[in-house]
């Protein structure tokens, strides 16, 4: 086809093809970078999902023979409308529910928490002695250093799969760098009295 074109046109065509061959490899990465990011190139432990940002997802290693585990994370809502965490699922356990743990006088009460509202420009924290993803009927132990996927369902943002990092058996989350607290005294959580006496 090009053979029927005048020579001048053919030369311009070749020039344009060369320009494209150079420009495309340069332009494409720029285009991809501007797309919504995957978890691979984000600060460790952060996963955007619609208006939400899921971060610091972790669980404790389970004691020998334990059939339950708990996973925790922080969910931030950077949007203008509230969302709701309506459920969770995971292959690692027979049944997965969102549970709460509250103290009534000196008694600890645990059970299904229902749906959890995440206010606009707000956040919820699933952490020890509070809300947690309850994993019942574990199919395998949770071993420190491993990770496993959990799917979270949100009313507005829809479902998303997040990877849960397994810390040591005595860990209090991402606030300590030690896996099981054996080498430091701060095995306690940051909740509670909140009097700021922790010094990490």
């Amino acid at each position: 086809m090009t053979s029927s074109l005048p020579r001048r046109c053919r030369r311009r065509l070749i020039l344009a093809a060369c320009a494209l061959a150079i420009a495309l490899p340069v332009a494409l990465p720029v285009v991809f970078k501007s797309l919504p990011a995957s978890a691979d190139n984000l600060p460790h432990g952060e996963l955007p999902h619609g208006d939400l940002l899921l971060r610091d997802a972790w669980a404790r290693a389970t004691p020998g023979g334990a059939r339950t585990g708990a996973a925790y994370l922080r969910i931030e809502n950077h949007g203008d409308t509230p969302d709701t965490l309506v459920g969770a699922a995971a292959d690692i356990a027979e049944r997965v529910e969102i549970h709460s743990m509250t103290m009534e006088n000196d008694t600890m009460v645990m059970g299904p928490a229902g749906e959890i509202a995440i206010p606009a420009h707000g956040a919820i924290e699933l952490k020890p002695h509070g809300l947690h993803i309850m994993l019942m009927g574990l199919k395998q132990p949770l071993a420190e250093g491993d990770s496993f996927p959990v799917t979270l369902d949100f009313a507005k943002a829809g479902s998303v799969q997040i990877e849960i990092d397994i810390h040591g058996i005595g860990s209090s989350g991402h606030s300590d760098n030690h896996s099981d607290g054996h080498s430091d005294d701060h095995s306690d959580e940051e909740h509670g009295s909140g009097d700021g006496e922790h010094s990490h």
Partner: protein, 194 residues
């Protein structure tokens, strides 16, 4: 005098007495003179019978929980583990005890496997539902099953009862205490008692 006035004032007096008694009962000092903790007969992790005789001579620290608990019980047992380390040589005088209030699932074998992840000095105890109920009653520990199917949970008190070497009530801790606080409080109890 009008009978009704008598009745009302009588009730008022009784109510006041009741409130006063309740106030005193909730006062820890008063609780020490009422029996908290006492003789028991439970089963150890090797299936052996264990009574309070096994605990005399040390300060025993009783935590009541269950292995199906993903958060509070591992936390308390981990705190026990760290506390025993922190106590150093003083740990010789302390005997941590984990009693299951879920004997249906917590067999001696299950307890043994669970406790293998924590300090080996922690003694695990379980037993028949009746023996557990009796022990919890003696130690004034509340527990209740919640949920109906195989994944039922237990509501339970987090009070940790400390018994002295003569197996008398010496004090109380709490499973949610951070390790520094629990260790200090236990040392206070041991010093005050000696």
């Amino acid at each position: 005098m009008n009978r009704r006035v008598l009745l009302v004032s009588g009730l008022a007096v009784m109510a006041a007495a009741g409130i006063g008694a309740s106030y005193f009962l909730n006062d820890r000092k008063m609780a020490e003179t009422l029996a908290v903790g006492g003789p028991f007969k439970l089963t150890g992790t090797d299936g052996q019978e264990v009574t309070e005789a096994a605990l005399m001579g040390k300060y025993s620290v009783f935590f009541f929980g269950f292995t199906f608990c993903p958060d509070a019980c591992p936390t308390a047992l981990n705190t026990f583990t760290l506390m025993m380390e922190k106590l150093g040589p003083a740990a010789e005088a302390v005997q941590p005890v984990f009693v299951s209030i879920d004997p249906a699932r917590d067999t001696p074998q299950a307890m043994k496997e669970y406790l293998s992840s924590f300090d080996p000095r922690i003694m695990g105890l379980t037993g028949s539902p009746e023996a557990i109920a009796e022990t919890a009653r003696i130690f004034r520990v509340y527990y209740k099953k919640s949920g109906e199917d195989e994944y039922y949970l237990m509501d339970h008190s987090t009070a940790i009862i400390v018994m002295n070497p003569d197996f008398e009530y010496a004090g109380v801790l709490n499973g949610a205490m951070p390790v520094d606080e629990m260790t200090t409080r236990l040392q206070e109890i041991m010093q005050k008692d000696s």
